[in-house]
Amino acid sequence: MSTELGGLGRFAGPATLILSSLAQGPKHGYAITKDVEAFAGVRLQPGTLYGALSRLEHDGLIEGLEGEGRRRPYDITPRGARALEAQLTVQRRVSEVGLRRLSTGLATS
């Protein structure tokens, strides 16, 4: 069940959150942290965010756009969208199996 995002090692989790945020449209760093906090309840620290952003940009999954002032927005690339879709499909499968087994286990116990 290895996916492209899975190859990012310790950045796989933050990368999934960042790509999910950028799937809505381009955002700069602070907007990403606010969005991720709103939809996932996870507060990405600045170091983690930029560690993941540099990995994603290097791997061609996101691209930096020209922005106003010092805030550079990032956008998801088609390759990033495919990688996110593959990752979320795996996560959904794991989630469904886990929840099903959990409910079966709770019912039998």
């Binding site: 170091g47 930029y50 540099s54």
Partner: protein, 196 residues
Amino acid sequence: MKWVRATPRFLAQVAERRPWVFAAASIVFWTLLSPLALVWLVLWLIDRYRALDKSPEATRDRRVTRLLRWYPAAWRTRYGSEMAALLHDTIAERGGGPQMSLNVAKEGLAARLTMPARRDALAGTCLGLCWLPLLPQGLVPAVMKLTETPTRSWFLALYLPDPYQWPVIAAMLALGLAMLGAGRRLAGVHVIPTRG
């Protein structure tokens, strides 16, 4: 404290450009000459602190600058400006506690270790030297100890008191394996994008 500032021009310039290098050198060398130098140093630091702009904006600027120093210059060239903006926003809204500082320090050090030149040098050192703790200081003394060979040669663990020999052999094996793993890992990590 005019006399504190009345140091030779050269020393003042060094203190202005590299205050921490100047402070460190002063502690190392000047205290050896006279305790008066230490007194001067303390007074100088107090003077510097008093001269600092203590407004919230200036304090935040200094903190952001300090935090970004954890990252290598190439990384700062590419991401420094936008990350500074993020740090400013984060500190302004949430205060940015020690957890944020630790996170930035950790990721900055990781970025330093993954710089191409440094990464290659470190990977080469790890892969080139891992055999030393692994084989002659780990595996070979372990075999010699198991077979009760009387020769100690240059095997460090065999010169130690008996209770410490196995722990040291285990530590050497662990060090060798860690160096091998780190070297292999560093040889395969990504590089920082240079465009933009």
